[in-house]
Symmetry: C2
Subunit: 207 residues, 2 copies
DNA sequence: TGAATCTTACCGACCGGTCGTTAGGCAAAT
DNA sequence: ATTTGCCTAACGACCGGTCGGTAAGATTCA
Protein backbone atom coordinates (compact mmCIF):
# COMPACT_ATOMS: atom_id res chain seq x y z
CA UNK A 1 0.00 0.00 0.00
CA UNK A 2 1.01 3.60 -0.34
CA UNK A 3 0.48 4.36 3.32
CA UNK A 4 4.15 4.55 4.25
CA UNK A 5 4.85 6.73 1.24
CA UNK A 6 2.40 9.27 2.65
CA UNK A 7 3.78 8.91 6.14
CA UNK A 8 7.26 9.71 4.87
CA UNK A 9 5.94 12.82 3.19
CA UNK A 10 4.18 14.05 6.29
CA UNK A 11 7.15 13.37 8.55
CA UNK A 12 9.43 15.10 6.06
CA UNK A 13 7.13 18.13 6.02
CA UNK A 14 7.38 18.39 9.80
CA UNK A 15 11.16 18.06 9.81
CA UNK A 16 11.87 20.29 6.81
CA UNK A 17 9.67 22.96 8.37
CA UNK A 18 11.32 22.65 11.75
CA UNK A 19 14.98 22.25 10.91
CA UNK A 20 15.26 22.99 7.21
CA UNK A 21 15.92 20.68 4.29
CA UNK A 22 19.71 20.47 4.52
CA UNK A 23 19.70 20.05 8.27
CA UNK A 24 17.22 17.18 8.03
CA UNK A 25 18.70 13.73 7.52
CA UNK A 26 17.21 10.71 5.84
CA UNK A 27 17.76 8.76 9.04
CA UNK A 28 15.79 11.42 10.89
CA UNK A 29 12.87 11.03 8.55
CA UNK A 30 13.09 7.26 8.82
CA UNK A 31 13.13 7.43 12.60
CA UNK A 32 10.02 9.58 12.51
CA UNK A 33 8.34 6.90 10.40
CA UNK A 34 9.51 4.06 12.59
CA UNK A 35 11.57 2.40 9.85
CA UNK A 36 15.23 2.14 8.88
CA UNK A 37 16.72 4.77 6.65
CA UNK A 38 17.44 2.32 3.84
CA UNK A 39 13.72 1.62 3.62
CA UNK A 40 13.11 5.20 2.59
CA UNK A 41 14.73 4.36 -0.74
CA UNK A 42 12.10 1.78 -1.50
CA UNK A 43 9.56 4.60 -1.68
CA UNK A 44 11.62 7.52 -3.00
CA UNK A 45 14.62 7.61 -5.31
CA UNK A 46 16.54 10.04 -3.12
CA UNK A 47 16.22 12.85 -0.62
CA UNK A 48 15.54 15.50 -3.23
CA UNK A 49 12.63 13.48 -4.61
CA UNK A 50 10.91 13.85 -1.26
CA UNK A 51 11.36 17.60 -1.30
CA UNK A 52 10.12 17.80 -4.87
CA UNK A 53 7.07 15.69 -4.08
CA UNK A 54 6.14 18.10 -1.28
CA UNK A 55 6.62 21.19 -3.42
CA UNK A 56 4.95 19.81 -6.53
CA UNK A 57 1.90 18.72 -4.62
CA UNK A 58 1.70 22.01 -2.74
CA UNK A 59 1.98 24.17 -5.83
CA UNK A 60 -0.59 22.12 -7.65
CA UNK A 61 -3.00 22.42 -4.74
CA UNK A 62 -2.33 26.17 -4.49
CA UNK A 63 -3.34 26.74 -8.09
CA UNK A 64 -6.36 24.47 -7.78
CA UNK A 65 -7.48 26.32 -4.65
CA UNK A 66 -7.32 29.66 -6.41
CA UNK A 67 -9.18 28.41 -9.47
CA UNK A 68 -11.94 26.99 -7.34
CA UNK A 69 -12.31 30.22 -5.38
CA UNK A 70 -12.56 32.34 -8.52
CA UNK A 71 -15.12 30.33 -10.45
CA UNK A 72 -18.30 32.35 -10.76
CA UNK A 73 -16.74 35.57 -9.46
CA UNK A 74 -16.87 38.16 -12.21
CA UNK A 75 -16.54 41.57 -10.60
CA UNK A 76 -12.93 42.77 -10.87
CA UNK A 77 -12.57 43.94 -7.29
CA UNK A 78 -14.35 40.90 -5.95
CA UNK A 79 -11.98 38.67 -7.93
CA UNK A 80 -8.91 40.29 -6.43
CA UNK A 81 -10.40 40.13 -2.95
CA UNK A 82 -11.14 36.46 -3.50
CA UNK A 83 -7.62 35.86 -4.79
CA UNK A 84 -6.03 37.51 -1.78
CA UNK A 85 -8.25 35.59 0.58
CA UNK A 86 -7.57 32.35 -1.22
CA UNK A 87 -3.85 32.96 -1.05
CA UNK A 88 -3.82 33.83 2.64
CA UNK A 89 -6.09 31.00 3.63
CA UNK A 90 -4.14 28.41 1.71
CA UNK A 91 -0.84 29.58 3.14
CA UNK A 92 -2.07 29.61 6.71
CA UNK A 93 -3.92 26.35 6.36
CA UNK A 94 -0.93 24.63 4.80
CA UNK A 95 1.60 26.59 6.78
CA UNK A 96 4.41 24.06 6.78
CA UNK A 97 4.25 23.02 3.14
CA UNK A 98 4.04 26.55 1.81
CA UNK A 99 6.88 27.67 4.03
CA UNK A 100 9.00 24.83 2.68
CA UNK A 101 7.96 25.55 -0.88
CA UNK A 102 9.03 29.15 -0.58
CA UNK A 103 12.25 28.69 1.36
CA UNK A 104 13.83 25.46 0.16
CA UNK A 105 14.00 26.02 -3.58
CA UNK A 106 17.77 25.76 -3.38
CA UNK A 107 17.48 22.12 -2.44
CA UNK A 108 15.98 21.17 -5.81
CA UNK A 109 17.83 19.85 -8.82
CA UNK A 110 17.96 22.09 -11.87
CA UNK A 111 15.12 20.32 -13.67
CA UNK A 112 12.87 20.21 -10.62
CA UNK A 113 13.72 23.80 -9.78
CA UNK A 114 12.56 24.90 -13.19
CA UNK A 115 9.34 22.94 -12.85
CA UNK A 116 8.42 24.54 -9.54
CA UNK A 117 9.45 28.03 -10.55
CA UNK A 118 7.35 27.69 -13.70
CA UNK A 119 4.30 26.90 -11.60
CA UNK A 120 5.05 29.83 -9.32
CA UNK A 121 5.47 32.18 -12.27
CA UNK A 122 2.15 31.11 -13.71
CA UNK A 123 0.49 31.85 -10.40
CA UNK A 124 2.17 35.25 -10.19
CA UNK A 125 1.20 36.18 -13.71
CA UNK A 126 -2.37 35.30 -12.97
CA UNK A 127 -2.42 37.71 -10.06
CA UNK A 128 -0.74 40.39 -12.14
CA UNK A 129 -3.46 40.05 -14.75
CA UNK A 130 -6.07 40.53 -12.04
CA UNK A 131 -4.37 43.74 -10.94
CA UNK A 132 -4.04 45.01 -14.49
CA UNK A 133 -7.71 44.31 -15.12
CA UNK A 134 -8.52 46.32 -12.03
CA UNK A 135 -6.39 49.24 -13.11
CA UNK A 136 -7.90 49.07 -16.58
CA UNK A 137 -11.40 49.09 -15.12
CA UNK A 138 -10.50 52.12 -13.02
CA UNK A 139 -11.09 50.56 -9.63
CA UNK A 140 -7.38 50.42 -8.72
CA UNK A 141 -4.90 53.26 -8.98
CA UNK A 142 -2.15 52.92 -11.55
CA UNK A 143 1.04 51.49 -10.13
CA UNK A 144 3.88 49.14 -10.83
CA UNK A 145 2.08 45.85 -11.34
CA UNK A 146 5.10 43.66 -10.71
CA UNK A 147 5.99 45.31 -7.45
CA UNK A 148 2.38 45.35 -6.32
CA UNK A 149 1.95 41.67 -7.10
CA UNK A 150 5.15 40.77 -5.27
CA UNK A 151 3.98 42.87 -2.36
CA UNK A 152 0.67 41.06 -2.19
CA UNK A 153 2.19 37.62 -2.54
CA UNK A 154 5.02 38.05 -0.07
CA UNK A 155 2.72 39.74 2.40
CA UNK A 156 0.42 36.77 2.44
CA UNK A 157 3.20 34.23 2.23
CA UNK A 158 5.01 35.76 5.17
CA UNK A 159 1.95 35.11 7.25
CA UNK A 160 2.81 31.44 7.10
CA UNK A 161 6.07 32.11 8.90
CA UNK A 162 4.61 33.71 11.99
CA UNK A 163 1.04 32.37 12.08
CA UNK A 164 0.25 30.45 15.20
CA UNK A 165 -2.78 28.15 14.86
CA UNK A 166 -3.26 28.37 18.61
CA UNK A 167 -2.95 32.16 18.61
CA UNK A 168 -5.61 34.77 19.22
CA UNK A 169 -6.48 35.37 15.57
CA UNK A 170 -8.29 32.97 13.26
CA UNK A 171 -7.30 32.40 9.67
CA UNK A 172 -10.45 34.18 8.64
CA UNK A 173 -9.63 37.23 10.72
CA UNK A 174 -6.10 37.47 9.36
CA UNK A 175 -7.35 37.04 5.81
CA UNK A 176 -9.80 39.87 6.39
CA UNK A 177 -7.13 42.23 7.67
CA UNK A 178 -4.88 41.48 4.72
CA UNK A 179 -7.73 41.82 2.28
CA UNK A 180 -8.56 45.31 3.49
CA UNK A 181 -4.95 46.37 3.77
CA UNK A 182 -4.12 45.30 0.24
CA UNK A 183 -7.26 46.67 -1.34
CA UNK A 184 -6.69 50.07 0.23
CA UNK A 185 -3.13 49.97 -1.06
CA UNK A 186 -4.33 49.22 -4.56
CA UNK A 187 -6.93 51.97 -4.45
CA UNK A 188 -4.62 54.51 -2.87
CA UNK A 189 -5.46 58.08 -3.74
CA UNK A 190 -8.37 57.13 -5.95
CA UNK A 191 -11.20 58.39 -3.79
CA UNK A 192 -9.31 61.40 -2.48
CA UNK A 193 -8.28 62.70 -5.83
CA UNK A 194 -4.77 63.16 -4.44
CA UNK A 195 -2.30 63.13 -7.32
CA UNK A 196 -0.22 60.39 -5.73
CA UNK A 197 3.35 61.03 -4.71
CA UNK A 198 6.07 58.73 -5.90
CA UNK A 199 3.93 55.91 -7.21
CA UNK A 200 2.64 57.95 -10.12
CA UNK A 201 4.17 57.57 -13.51
CA UNK A 202 5.40 54.00 -13.33
CA UNK A 203 4.56 51.66 -16.13
CA UNK A 204 1.75 49.25 -15.60
CA UNK A 205 2.70 46.66 -18.16
CA UNK A 206 4.70 43.54 -17.43
CA UNK A 207 8.36 43.29 -18.37
CA UNK B 1 46.00 42.79 10.70
CA UNK B 2 42.27 42.14 10.69
CA UNK B 3 42.04 42.22 6.92
CA UNK B 4 41.58 38.48 6.45
CA UNK B 5 38.92 38.42 9.17
CA UNK B 6 36.89 40.86 7.09
CA UNK B 7 37.57 38.97 3.88
CA UNK B 8 36.21 35.79 5.45
CA UNK B 9 33.06 37.63 6.47
CA UNK B 10 32.48 39.02 3.01
CA UNK B 11 33.12 35.71 1.27
CA UNK B 12 30.82 33.99 3.75
CA UNK B 13 28.09 36.54 3.04
CA UNK B 14 28.30 35.78 -0.66
CA UNK B 15 28.21 32.02 -0.14
CA UNK B 16 25.53 31.97 2.56
CA UNK B 17 23.36 34.16 0.36
CA UNK B 18 23.95 32.04 -2.70
CA UNK B 19 23.82 28.49 -1.34
CA UNK B 20 22.55 28.83 2.22
CA UNK B 21 24.35 28.38 5.51
CA UNK B 22 24.15 24.61 5.79
CA UNK B 23 25.08 24.03 2.17
CA UNK B 24 28.16 26.21 2.53
CA UNK B 25 31.33 24.49 3.75
CA UNK B 26 34.23 25.94 5.68
CA UNK B 27 36.53 24.75 2.95
CA UNK B 28 34.40 26.64 0.44
CA UNK B 29 34.76 29.84 2.40
CA UNK B 30 38.50 29.25 2.75
CA UNK B 31 38.85 28.65 -0.98
CA UNK B 32 37.05 31.93 -1.63
CA UNK B 33 39.58 33.67 0.60
CA UNK B 34 42.56 31.92 -0.94
CA UNK B 35 43.60 30.19 2.28
CA UNK B 36 43.32 26.70 3.79
CA UNK B 37 40.30 25.80 5.84
CA UNK B 38 42.35 25.31 9.02
CA UNK B 39 43.30 28.97 8.82
CA UNK B 40 39.68 29.96 9.17
CA UNK B 41 39.80 28.72 12.74
CA UNK B 42 42.53 31.18 13.57
CA UNK B 43 40.05 33.99 12.96
CA UNK B 44 36.76 32.41 14.07
CA UNK B 45 36.03 29.79 16.69
CA UNK B 46 33.72 27.81 14.42
CA UNK B 47 31.35 28.02 11.51
CA UNK B 48 28.49 29.32 13.57
CA UNK B 49 30.61 32.21 14.86
CA UNK B 50 30.90 33.46 11.29
CA UNK B 51 27.14 33.38 10.85
CA UNK B 52 26.63 35.13 14.16
CA UNK B 53 29.16 37.83 13.29
CA UNK B 54 27.27 38.57 10.08
CA UNK B 55 23.89 38.71 11.80
CA UNK B 56 25.04 40.66 14.83
CA UNK B 57 26.71 43.30 12.72
CA UNK B 58 23.73 43.54 10.39
CA UNK B 59 21.17 43.91 13.14
CA UNK B 60 23.27 46.51 14.88
CA UNK B 61 23.60 48.49 11.68
CA UNK B 62 19.87 48.16 10.99
CA UNK B 63 18.95 49.71 14.32
CA UNK B 64 21.58 52.44 13.97
CA UNK B 65 20.26 53.26 10.49
CA UNK B 66 16.72 53.68 11.79
CA UNK B 67 17.79 55.82 14.73
CA UNK B 68 19.76 58.11 12.48
CA UNK B 69 16.85 58.51 10.08
CA UNK B 70 14.40 59.36 12.84
CA UNK B 71 16.40 61.99 14.69
CA UNK B 72 14.74 65.33 14.32
CA UNK B 73 11.55 63.95 12.81
CA UNK B 74 8.65 64.68 15.14
CA UNK B 75 5.44 64.44 13.13
CA UNK B 76 3.86 61.03 13.69
CA UNK B 77 3.09 60.28 10.06
CA UNK B 78 6.47 61.57 8.93
CA UNK B 79 8.16 59.31 11.47
CA UNK B 80 6.41 56.24 10.15
CA UNK B 81 7.16 57.19 6.58
CA UNK B 82 10.81 57.66 7.52
CA UNK B 83 10.85 54.32 9.32
CA UNK B 84 9.43 52.48 6.32
CA UNK B 85 11.86 54.18 3.99
CA UNK B 86 14.77 53.45 6.29
CA UNK B 87 13.76 49.81 6.50
CA UNK B 88 13.37 49.36 2.76
CA UNK B 89 16.53 51.18 1.89
CA UNK B 90 18.64 49.29 4.38
CA UNK B 91 17.30 45.94 3.22
CA UNK B 92 17.83 46.65 -0.45
CA UNK B 93 21.22 48.21 0.10
CA UNK B 94 22.41 45.32 2.25
CA UNK B 95 20.46 42.71 0.35
CA UNK B 96 22.63 39.70 1.08
CA UNK B 97 23.21 40.29 4.76
CA UNK B 98 19.58 41.03 5.54
CA UNK B 99 18.44 38.00 3.59
CA UNK B 100 20.82 35.83 5.58
CA UNK B 101 19.77 37.45 8.85
CA UNK B 102 16.13 36.69 8.17
CA UNK B 103 16.47 33.20 6.75
CA UNK B 104 19.33 31.50 8.59
CA UNK B 105 18.26 31.93 12.20
CA UNK B 106 18.12 28.16 12.51
CA UNK B 107 21.87 27.97 12.07
CA UNK B 108 22.53 29.82 15.33
CA UNK B 109 23.24 28.30 18.73
CA UNK B 110 20.64 28.82 21.43
CA UNK B 111 22.47 31.70 23.07
CA UNK B 112 23.22 33.48 19.81
CA UNK B 113 19.69 32.85 18.59
CA UNK B 114 18.31 34.59 21.63
CA UNK B 115 20.66 37.52 21.14
CA UNK B 116 19.60 38.11 17.56
CA UNK B 117 15.91 37.58 18.19
CA UNK B 118 16.11 40.04 21.07
CA UNK B 119 17.49 42.69 18.72
CA UNK B 120 14.81 41.89 16.18
CA UNK B 121 12.08 42.13 18.81
CA UNK B 122 13.33 45.50 19.95
CA UNK B 123 13.20 46.74 16.39
CA UNK B 124 9.68 45.37 15.92
CA UNK B 125 8.43 46.90 19.13
CA UNK B 126 9.80 50.24 18.09
CA UNK B 127 7.78 50.10 14.89
CA UNK B 128 4.70 48.97 16.79
CA UNK B 129 5.01 51.99 19.04
CA UNK B 130 5.16 54.23 16.00
CA UNK B 131 1.95 52.70 14.69
CA UNK B 132 0.21 52.98 18.04
CA UNK B 133 1.22 56.61 18.31
CA UNK B 134 -0.28 57.17 14.86
CA UNK B 135 -3.51 55.48 15.82
CA UNK B 136 -3.61 57.43 19.06
CA UNK B 137 -3.09 60.68 17.19
CA UNK B 138 -5.93 59.78 14.84
CA UNK B 139 -3.91 59.75 11.65
CA UNK B 140 -4.03 55.95 11.24
CA UNK B 141 -7.13 53.79 11.40
CA UNK B 142 -7.42 51.39 14.31
CA UNK B 143 -6.19 47.92 13.51
CA UNK B 144 -4.26 44.99 14.88
CA UNK B 145 -0.89 46.56 15.59
CA UNK B 146 1.01 43.28 15.65
CA UNK B 147 -0.30 42.12 12.33
CA UNK B 148 0.19 45.53 10.77
CA UNK B 149 3.78 45.73 11.98
CA UNK B 150 4.53 42.24 10.71
CA UNK B 151 2.97 43.19 7.41
CA UNK B 152 5.12 46.26 7.08
CA UNK B 153 8.32 44.50 8.09
CA UNK B 154 7.89 41.41 5.96
CA UNK B 155 6.76 43.48 3.02
CA UNK B 156 9.96 45.46 3.07
CA UNK B 157 12.14 42.52 3.99
CA UNK B 158 10.79 40.47 1.13
CA UNK B 159 12.01 43.14 -1.23
CA UNK B 160 15.54 41.98 -0.46
CA UNK B 161 14.73 38.57 -1.91
CA UNK B 162 13.71 39.74 -5.34
CA UNK B 163 15.42 43.12 -5.69
CA UNK B 164 17.81 43.29 -8.61
CA UNK B 165 20.35 46.12 -8.34
CA UNK B 166 20.65 46.09 -12.12
CA UNK B 167 16.87 46.16 -12.59
CA UNK B 168 14.69 48.94 -13.89
CA UNK B 169 13.72 50.36 -10.48
CA UNK B 170 15.99 52.25 -8.13
CA UNK B 171 16.01 51.70 -4.39
CA UNK B 172 14.47 55.12 -4.01
CA UNK B 173 11.62 54.29 -6.37
CA UNK B 174 10.82 51.03 -4.62
CA UNK B 175 10.95 52.70 -1.23
CA UNK B 176 8.50 55.30 -2.50
CA UNK B 177 6.04 52.70 -3.74
CA UNK B 178 6.15 50.81 -0.46
CA UNK B 179 5.85 53.99 1.54
CA UNK B 180 2.62 54.98 -0.23
CA UNK B 181 1.24 51.46 -0.20
CA UNK B 182 1.75 51.03 3.51
CA UNK B 183 0.56 54.47 4.47
CA UNK B 184 -2.67 54.01 2.55
CA UNK B 185 -3.10 50.67 4.27
CA UNK B 186 -2.67 52.27 7.66
CA UNK B 187 -5.10 55.05 6.86
CA UNK B 188 -7.66 52.79 5.27
CA UNK B 189 -11.20 53.99 5.60
CA UNK B 190 -10.24 57.10 7.51
CA UNK B 191 -11.05 59.68 4.89
CA UNK B 192 -14.01 57.80 3.47
CA UNK B 193 -15.73 57.30 6.76
CA UNK B 194 -16.40 53.68 5.74
CA UNK B 195 -17.00 51.61 8.85
CA UNK B 196 -14.34 49.11 7.89
CA UNK B 197 -15.21 45.52 7.22
CA UNK B 198 -13.37 42.79 9.01
CA UNK B 199 -10.54 44.86 10.44
CA UNK B 200 -12.78 46.71 12.85
CA UNK B 201 -12.96 45.68 16.46
CA UNK B 202 -9.52 44.22 16.94
CA UNK B 203 -7.44 45.27 19.87
CA UNK B 204 -4.75 47.79 19.28
CA UNK B 205 -2.56 47.02 22.26
CA UNK B 206 0.38 44.69 22.23
CA UNK B 207 0.13 41.21 23.66
C1' DT C 1 73.46 46.19 18.32
C1' DG C 2 72.47 41.48 18.30
C1' DA C 3 70.61 37.39 20.21
C1' DA C 4 66.54 35.31 22.24
C1' DT C 5 61.81 35.06 22.66
C1' DC C 6 57.11 35.71 21.62
C1' DT C 7 53.19 36.63 18.42
C1' DT C 8 50.81 36.52 14.09
C1' DA C 9 48.94 34.22 10.35
C1' DC C 10 48.98 30.48 8.02
C1' DC C 11 49.71 25.37 6.39
C1' DG C 12 49.24 20.04 5.56
C1' DA C 13 47.62 16.07 7.61
C1' DC C 14 44.39 13.95 9.96
C1' DC C 15 40.39 12.83 13.21
C1' DG C 16 35.74 10.99 14.43
C1' DG C 17 31.44 11.27 12.77
C1' DT C 18 27.56 11.73 9.69
C1' DC C 19 25.80 11.98 5.34
C1' DG C 20 23.14 10.00 1.24
C1' DT C 21 23.06 5.89 -1.03
C1' DT C 22 23.52 0.87 -2.44
C1' DA C 23 23.59 -4.30 -2.11
C1' DG C 24 21.66 -8.24 -0.67
C1' DG C 25 18.61 -10.87 2.15
C1' DC C 26 14.24 -12.22 4.55
C1' DA C 27 9.44 -12.72 5.83
C1' DA C 28 4.73 -11.90 4.82
C1' DA C 29 1.23 -11.17 1.41
C1' DT C 30 -0.59 -12.09 -3.07
C1' DA D 1 6.28 -18.36 -7.06
C1' DT D 2 6.59 -13.80 -7.19
C1' DT D 3 6.09 -9.33 -5.46
C1' DT D 4 5.92 -6.16 -1.63
C1' DG D 5 7.96 -3.91 2.15
C1' DC D 6 11.20 -3.77 5.06
C1' DC D 7 15.69 -5.19 7.19
C1' DT D 8 21.08 -5.35 8.29
C1' DA D 9 25.35 -4.03 6.76
C1' DA D 10 28.32 -1.49 4.50
C1' DC D 11 30.06 2.02 1.12
C1' DG D 12 32.71 6.25 -0.22
C1' DA D 13 32.48 11.08 0.25
C1' DC D 14 32.61 14.87 2.83
C1' DC D 15 31.82 17.40 6.93
C1' DG D 16 33.45 20.58 10.89
C1' DG D 17 37.14 20.74 13.67
C1' DT D 18 42.00 19.75 15.82
C1' DC D 19 46.82 18.90 15.65
C1' DG D 20 51.70 20.02 15.39
C1' DG D 21 54.45 22.76 12.86
C1' DT D 22 56.55 26.94 10.41
C1' DA D 23 57.94 31.23 8.33
C1' DA D 24 58.05 36.00 9.18
C1' DG D 25 57.74 39.83 11.89
C1' DA D 26 57.64 42.29 16.44
C1' DT D 27 59.36 42.69 21.05
C1' DT D 28 62.35 42.10 24.80
C1' DC D 29 66.63 41.92 26.93
C1' DA D 30 71.82 41.69 27.27
Amino acid sequence: MARMKETILSVAIDLFFEKGYFATSISGIAAGCGIQKASIYYHYANKEAILFAIMERTMQALVAHLEQRLTGVTDVEARLRAAVRSHVEFHLRHQKETFIASSELRGLSDAHYRAIVARRDTYEQFLQELIMAGIGAGCFAAGDVKILSYAILTLCTAGASWYNPAGRLSIDAIAGIYEDFILSGLKQGLSEGRPGTSAAGYMTHLA
